[in-house]
């Protein structure tokens, strides 16, 4: 089983597959380098383009875009101090200082090389850990799968949000939205307030609306006078020197890769914090602590190796347990479901060629990402300065066409726009899109297993023993409660710290 993936490498080198990998990588780098276009939104907008493709080819495109948008986000973080994605926040700290010191090309070289090394190790973890976890997941029954789906929502709801009440509330809204339409078992209409909702809420239209429209509105919010962007000069730097420097930066690279891989494996945590935690740990372990924040290459290497090392492991809980490791992985789950691929323990038995070709393409994609990333570094500044009004208009039109193309239904477009505008307003009041999306995606899985479990429970020992009995159920329930309790405690601690600071200021 461990070396099974080698047998599926040929699929990646088929002309169409390789072209999609190439296009996804280059396009993802450009999208990632453009401020305001996050990896999550890029993957969501790409999903409609995969309908015409086979599942393996569609996933290759989405996987390449996921990998390269995260790495491409470093370009605007370094050159403009505007992180292309939340995962690149830590990259901006030293990367932009390097660019201001005339070392922009060096910083870009180091960021792409570190991303590539971290990314390859992350995908290797995905290759070797996923089958092990998948075999373990085969023992899961309906009650366990129900709790896993609920755990996915509570983990992202409590860990990905600044307010755990609003995070969990977002998850509940998503779970409720997933029940709109006709019930699968009875065929009864549920919460159909308008004709557009008759077929339920289409996941892809919802993903586009929830991730793309709020970003378009953020661009609108800047108004006509978008803040002046600091221009930095791009000077040439020898690639061989960058390779030598990466070779000498084992500590930053090692810390970044280990931190990113571990954080990626934790469901729901995502890459946002991987870069920041790796940056902080590398600074603490470095003999040159004072240099961090002033343009120290180790800061860039740690942050970028971490956020790309996170990508592969974030798919381990997704492919085996249906719990995404990051918001972008949640969108990728939507992409898997529309191609009829349901994650779970027997995934590698049902669709080995699709899943291994997809994973292998991610491995090759990391190398292509380094090659093309370094190649576009020279013209990166131009990409990163794309005018905001054009980006806003382009994303809006693409979102409308993309959501329409899913089922050729205007209802999906209406739902997409309304959800997007609503999400923008909710985000401004501390709600988060990621748990809402998780609720929407995992809702049908949770409901199907809840109903199936209820039927089994009625015929056997009753619902309490069925859903709360047994070690695995108890562990999963404890994890659900633990994730909520941890988030509650950390929220309280943070509020107390803020109160303390405000008191001191007075």
């Amino acid at each position: 089983m461990r070396m099974e993936f080698l047998g599926y490498f040929g699929g990646v080198f088929e002309p169409v597959a390789f072209l999609l990998l190439l296009g996804g990588t280059v396009g993802g780098l450009i999208l990632g380098a453009t401020p305001g276009l996050s990896p999550t939104m890029a993957v969501a907008l790409l999903i409609p383009f995969t309908f015409q493709l086979s599942p393996a080819h569609g996933l290759i495109l989405l996987g390449a875009a996921y990998t390269s948008t995260v790495a491409g986000g470093a370009v605007s973080a370094i050159l403009l101090r505007i992180p292309g994605a939340p995962a690149n926040i830590a990259t901006a700290l030293d990367g932009h200082e390097m660019a201001r010191n005339g070392e922009g090309t060096r910083a870009l070289h180091l960021s792409f090389l570190a991303s590539g090394i971290g990314g390859v190790i992350g995908v290797l973890l995905l290759i070797f850990l996923t089958p092990v976890l998948a075999e373990w997941a085969l023992a899961f029954g309906p009650s366990h799968l129900f709790w896993m789906a609920i755990l996915g929502v509570t983990l992202i709801g409590s860990l990905d949000s600044k307010s755990f009440v609003k995070g969990l509330l977002s998850g509940c809204i998503g779970l409720w939205l997933s029940t709109i339409g006709y019930d699968d078992m009875q065929g009864a209409p549920r919460f159909i307030f308008a004709d557009a909702l008759t077929g339920g809420i289409n996941i892809i239209a919802a993903l586009i609306g929830l991730f793309a429209i709020p970003q378009v509105m953020e661009m609108f919010a800047k108004g006509r006078n978008a803040a002046a962007i600091e221009q930095v000069a791009i000077t040439k730097h020898r690639l061989s020197d960058s390779f030598r420097e990466i070779g000498r930066s084992g500590r930053a690279l090692g810390v970044g890769t280990v931190v990113g891989s571990v954080i990626g494996l934790i469901p729901g945590v995502g890459g946002q914090i991987a870069g920041l935690v790796a940056y902080d740990q590398t600074r603490k372990l470095s003999p040159h602590k004072a240099k961090f924040g002033t343009g120290h290459p180790e800061g860039v290497i740690a942050a970028e190796s971490a956020n790309n090392a996170m990508v592969g492991p974030s798919l381990v809980p997704l492919l085996t347990l249906s719990i995404p490791g990051s918001p972008t992985a949640a969108v990728l789950l939507g992409g898997l479901l529309i191609h009829g691929i349901f994650p779970g323990g027997d995934l590698f038995e049902r669709h080995p060629e699709v899943i291994w070709t997809f994973i292998n393409s991610m491995l090759l994609g990391q190398i292509l990402m380094v090659v093309f990333g370094i190649w576009i570094a020279a013209s990166a500044a131009r990409i990163a300065r794309a005018p905001v009004p054009i980006m806003a208009a382009a994303v809006l039109v693409l979102a409308v066409f993309g959501s329409y193309s899913v089922q050729q239904s205007m209802g999906d477009v209406y739902v997409m726009l309304i959800l997007g505008i609503g999400m923008f307003a909710l985000e401004k009041f501390g709600f988060s899109a990621a748990p809402l999306v998780l609720g929407l995606i995992l809702g049908p899985i949770a409901e199907a297993n809840f109903i199936q479990g209820s039927m089994i429970a009625t015929a056997t020992d009753g619902p309490w023993i069925y859903f709360f009995g047994g070690l695995l159920n108890l562990v999963l329930v404890a994890l659900v409660i633990g994730s909520i309790a941890y988030s509650f405690a950390s929220n309280r601690a943070m509020n107390a710290a803020v109160d303390g600071m405000q008191g001191d200021a007075r």
Binding site: S163, C172, M410
Partner: protein, 153 residues
């Protein structure tokens, strides 16, 4: 506290009202079997919505800066264009024509260049035509999506 108390209270009460409607419908609609899962969800939904509303009303809600008037003023024109594009123009004028008009309207509304600048108009119209050409190639030619034609195209 970030944002004013009233700014947090209004959306919290809206969410509570939605939760109340969902809970009411979940427990009153038939057949009961079809609403089993929505009932479970709605219990947590209304509980959390009530907790959130209480935090907002008592001034404990701290997360989220709200929507300042300046931001709302900036956002409204773009949202208006998006709503007209989707709900009115797309089916009456046709997807591509309305898409082009929406693209041009947004780039014009948010372009820092003065509206009297001829170069600005040439650039915006040029970018609109190129972008819509790419969209047409992708959706009509490559994906073969049949979009509503309306009066034009």
């Amino acid at each position: 506290m970030t944002g004013t108390r009233i700014q947090h209270t209004v959306p919290a009460l809206v969410v509570l009202a939605v939760a109340a409607v969902v809970t009411w419908l979940s427990f009153t609609e038939e057949p009961a079997e079809a609403f089993l899962f929505p009932r479970v969800v709605s219990v947590f939904f209304i509980g959390l919505a009530a907790w959130n509303a209480w935090r907002a009303v008592t001034g404990l809600a701290r997360v989220g800066g709200g929507i300042p008037a300046r931001m709302a003023m900036n956002v409204v024109p773009g949202v208006a264009v998006a709503l007209v594009f989707v709900f009115v123009a797309a089916t009456s004028l046709g997807f591509y024509v309305s898409g082009a008009l929406a693209f041009l309207a947004i780039t014009t509304l948010y372009d820092p260049a003065p509206l009297s600048s001829l170069n600005g108009w040439v650039r915006r119209i040029g970018v609109t035509l190129i972008f819509m050409g790419v969209i047409h190639a992708l959706f009509a030619l490559l994906l073969r999506v049949q979009t509503p034609r309306g009066m034009f195209f």
